[in-house]
Symmetry: C2
């Protein structure tokens, strides 16, 4: 339609959520591609549009996460993915912050290029067994020793499920340090504005030139719109019909899946 | 004065804070008696008034804490002290709650008489090194598995100081479980109404028949008044002159120390 054509004027890049948009997680292979999504990614890349993947995953390094998606058939590279650790590194560099890390051992390599001497902030991630009393106290002492304590949290999840039961997620321990220091953490990850801004900066695209495509009406659609982007909701993944009547958030469009979203966008752009 | 005499009509029991009222903590002996306080306790006991000690201490068992006070010269017995663990046990019994304990090993004996099979609540204390990821997850799973999760926290402190540095206190970990389960903990200890009620029940005295004497305008004086008791503020311990102009809380009287408080009370009662 004419409306859609106007909406898409000046679009230069797409930002894709991964889980629930590219694939559904679980099972022996670690997940199943959502029909049409593998081809949709190829079409975006062929179109000349810039592309960025934007995920809240923090249980694995980007490397391992991307390896899984490649095995499932996706044309995706590590340096195309914005994950909380990546975004945190960008923030740390921009603000000359030297983190004390309270994260999973597997995530530490993500911070290889970051100066960690004489820390002036704390970065907390899903540290799992590294959430010992001693490690929490160490992070706490770094914070309470700072004139203006800065706590950066890689997500704000409450808990998640593993094969051996429910586990406390990073958000629960973020609250430990928030309360002890009487501060508010800066949460990195969707729906934080800085997280989307980080993805856009990696693409070299302005918010009004980008479209977010996700299955989460609040964290994907609402978050992207807050940042000045347009956003489409797909009817896959965690989507539920009531999301289309969400009291606060209205998507710029509702599509059955990523394949339809890409077809609509490319058709309008090539008019 | 006539006013004071009327205020004290029907008084049958006194509730004393310990730290900052009986003694100041610290130093090699673990503390120093506040001048006149040892005698003041003796006078109360000789007067026939009922007496209860009410503390927020949770770093030691009542036994060890009371041993220290006895060494300092106080006539005090373990069964005269209301501490958070004692109060929690009373609550557990009253409500048929069977706790999963996340507390310091030294505190476990306080719960010897409590049924802990098939837990239907969690009691969290200053567990120190017992605050491992595994132990937190265990407590979390008990809570999240309950239809109506009940979390009882022995205090809500943020942190405290030990010789080897600052340590996270129970309140910080209370927040971990509160956030993970989206619940509010029931905090035992001053200024909680249930805590004072527990002390009163141990004495067999009604709120309007009791006077609280403390050095904390909010937790001692305000808490006791909320519970229907009268309350005096002593000018010892953590007292600061600005406490007498507190915007929310007005004590029923201000006295220089416990000795003066006891003299005033006994003089009026014997009129």
């Amino acid at each position: 339609t004419a409306d859609r054509g106007q909406q898409l004027a000046g679009i230069q890049g797409l930002v894709l959520d991964i889980s629930g948009v590219l694939y559904d997680s679980g099972g022996e292979a670690g997940g199943l591609p959502i029909p049409g999504s593998i081809d949709a990614v190829k079409k975006i890349k062929a179109s000349g549009l810039r592309l960025r993947f934007c995920t809240n995953e923090t249980q694995a390094t980007r490397d391992k996460f991307v390896e899984k998606l490649q095995r499932l058939g996706f044309d995706i590279a590590v340096n195309e993915v914005t994950a909380p650790a990546t975004a945190a590194c960008r923030i740390l560099k921009e603000r000359n912050l030297r983190p004390h890390l309270l994260v999973h051992d597997d995530l530490v390599p993500e911070f290889d290029q970051i100066d960690k001497a004489n820390p002036n902030c704390v970065v907390i991630g899903d540290a799992a067994d590294n959430f010992s009393y001693q490690n929490l106290n160490e992070a706490f002492r770094v914070l309470i020793g700072l004139e203006k304590p800065i706590l950066i949290s890689l997500g704000s999840g409450r808990y998640y499920k593993e094969t051996d039961g429910l586990k406390l997620d990073v958000g629960a321990y973020m609250k430990t340090l928030e309360y002890a220091c009487d501060i508010q953490a800066e949460v990195v990850g969707k729906p934080a504005k800085t997280f989307f801004q980080s993805a856009l900066a990696e693409m070299g695209v302005e918010p009004q030139q980008a479209i977010m495509i996700g299955d989460d009406i609040v964290n994907d659609v609402g978050g992207a719109q807050q940042c000045g982007m347009k956003a489409l909701l797909v009817r896959t993944g965690k989507y539920r019909p009531c999301d289309e009547q969400h009291p606060q958030v209205k998507a710029d469009g509702y599509v059955d899946n990523l394949a339809e979203a890409v077809d609509v966008i490319l058709k309008q752009l090539h008019k």
